[in-house]
Symmetry: C2
Subunit: 393 residues, 2 copies
């Protein structure tokens, strides 16, 4: 870490993501008692406004937890010991569903897709047929470890055709790439506060529809903190009430962030993310960097590139962070040192991408790669100029 | 709610409690990536410094959750379906242990003590004898609903004599009234960030000793997010690592708060709380208000008074809040309208007590009680003058 204050810090990671100044500032205001009218108002407004990001009329259940707590709520409410489920996964975060299903004693049909590929609907269809009548499918919207975004609409259709519910980890994807819960009939969407919702980590979400709530209610017990029934009951009171002390500073932050999303308009938010991702992909082409995973306009959360032959991806990530102040992510597990991942989910604009690509070019050059300085930046600039920037001018 | 900015707001509730300005401000700084060296340093320091408040050498496991999440971790790690436990409770928060034990399928011996009384060691001894060989006792340090503080040292001795572990909810008590985990041999202490730790809600803690960790490890599964083994493994890495994205803004806040506690000295922190409680009790005597629960110098978290005959406690609480800006708590469940509760756990000094008693006197007078204005304030002032204020001058 340099102590030079002019070596400014840029956070290009998929959570925690940078916070808009208004979100940061509200947390420094005097703390509110959770039963005070002023907080009850914030809480009620958040419960309404967050539905517009989930694109659902379901209750969005809010937990003081990380995004994994939201996933745990889905596992503990939907899994019955010894009963079959399908885990359809294609990366590190999909593995978490498998670990959760193991912990809760499910009989697992494990659809384990190569990292960098999507879960194909046909593969899910076969896995469901192979399972012993699985009633639940667990899968991932945006697989943060690879940048891949799955076609949840198609996967939901396959699950429903087999009589199964589908629970989707949208922790990094929600608010960055569309998941139209009600339109697509997704039974449960799970998310967290620290990605495209532009808030600090510490809030987990789950939005079970009535079918999922009914299925959970058939098999009560073995859960308490994350029990959907308990939280639904509290949130449906007038005024709404959390069964446990809510994380009030994080709710105040989310209230401000949701107002920003509302102001931009959720479809415009998606459009901005698509543009940032396209510019990043074009920058990669300008630098002859190979995209990791399929080119996909919905893959607008994280863009991953293969590191050029002979260059250590960990050194790229470390140099960018320690020398230039730009924090991106490297590869995880078997991809360690082989890819770099640039996140652009949340509070990001065009010049965050130019900065990041600029630092990447300088770093690759320094590490001995054959790089034309400015070639990536120029490619991204052309995308932004063609699209018109500021994005919503 | 008045909109008059000079009707200043005072939070005298047992969580969320007021935050020191430095704690509030740090949350407005640019957010840190949880794997950035700057955050790893904060995280490692918090893990060390929080042990000094728990008065333990055990790992203090940190969860993104409310304090109830810390309790859930104890229940899910220590309860085995169908096996006997004792729940020793004396108020609303003790009930939570019972609900958790039910959810996790324990065979419960329910020691249900009248609200306002303590759990007596002899009663616990009998409950353990009546139980079918319970291996775990769940109880409460400071019962926030009544102000009662139990004698955990004595209860731990009784539990251990019967071969049982003891898990203690110290959510409101930790850092306000002593719980000397290692010295008293308490097996698990559970807490939360939003009380005497002077932070916002959103962090839950559990500090299992080796015996508790071993007992939990004998029966794995049925838990994931709150699994002690998983979190111990992460926190013991060098550098320490959280298995799930930690709530980074809350950790930064806790880092600042723990430095304040360290600077004051934990024994001085306890002494300050004892003084605040004594002054509050004396103020009650000056106003002829009957203390709810036994007079106890360790009951330094929340002071509860019976509301005078003919006065509605809910009206007292509402008038103090809406007219005078001083938020205290009323009674819960069967105590609704019958008691008022003044919390003084965390960031509180002498003049917070004078303000609160002043507002209480004005409110009682207005509601028709026979009150000598200034009599309570004067009694509290005498306590502070005798003890010397500022407390640590």
């Amino acid at each position: 870490m340099t102590a030079d204050p002019y070596n400014k810090q840029y956070l290009m990671t998929a959570g925690p993501t940078p916070l808009p100044p208004a979100v940061s500032q509200v947390m420094a205001e005097p703390i509110l008692f959770h039963r005070a009218p002023a907080f009850v108002e914030v809480y009620a407004r958040v419960l309404q406004n967050i539905k517009k990001v989930f694109l659902t009329e379901n209750d969005v259940l809010c937990f003081a937890s990380s995004g994994s707590g939201g996933m745990e709520s889905a596992a503990s409410n939907l899994i019955r010991p010894g009963e079959p489920v399908v885990v359809a996964r294609c990366g590190k975060f999909g593995e978490r569903w498998k670990e959760l299903a193991e912990a809760y004693g499910a009989e697992i049909t494990d659809l384990d897709v190569e990292w960098g590929a999507k879960v194909e609907p046909e593969a899910l269809e076969r896995a469901l047929a192979d399972s012993n009548g699985a009633r639940v499918v667990f899968t991932t919207l945006s697989e943060t470890s690879t940048g891949v975004v799955n076609d949840i609409k198609a996967l939901a259709e396959v699950a429903h055709a087999a009589g199964a519910l589908i629970a989707v980890d949208a922790v990094s994807g929600l608010g960055a790439t569309p998941i139209r819960q009600d339109e697509w009939g997704v039974d449960v969407v799970v998310s967290g506060s620290q990605k495209a919702l532009m808030c600090p980590p510490g809030l987990g979400f789950a939005s079970p529809n009535q079918a999922a709530l009914d299925f959970a209610a058939e098999s009560p017990g073995r859960r308490y903190y994350f029990d959907w029934g308990r939280t639904v009951k509290g949130q449906r009171k007038d005024p709404p009430d959390s069964p446990f002390t809510p994380a009030v500073t994080l709710f105040s932050a989310l209230d401000v962030a949701l107002a920003l999303i509302e102001e931009e308009g959720i479809e415009n938010v998606f459009e901005r993310h698509r543009l940032l991702a396209r510019a990043t992909r074009e920058a990669g082409k300008g630098l002859d960097l190979e995209l990791f995973g399929p080119e996909d306009e919905n893959a607008s959360v994280v863009t991953a590139f293969k590191v050029p032959e002979g260059i250590d991806g960990s050194a790229v990530q470390k140099t960018m962070r320690d020398k230039y102040g730009v924090t991106i992510a490297g590869g995880q597990n078997q991809l360690k040192g082989k890819i770099v991942r640039i996140a652009h989910c949340g509070y990001f604009g065009a010049f965050d991408i130019l900065t990041t690509i600029g630092a990447l070019e300088m770093t690759l050059s320094e590490l001995g790669a054959d790089v034309e300085l400015g070639a990536g930046v120029g490619a991204a600039q052309r995308v932004f100029l063609e699209a018109g920037v500021p994005v919503h001018a």
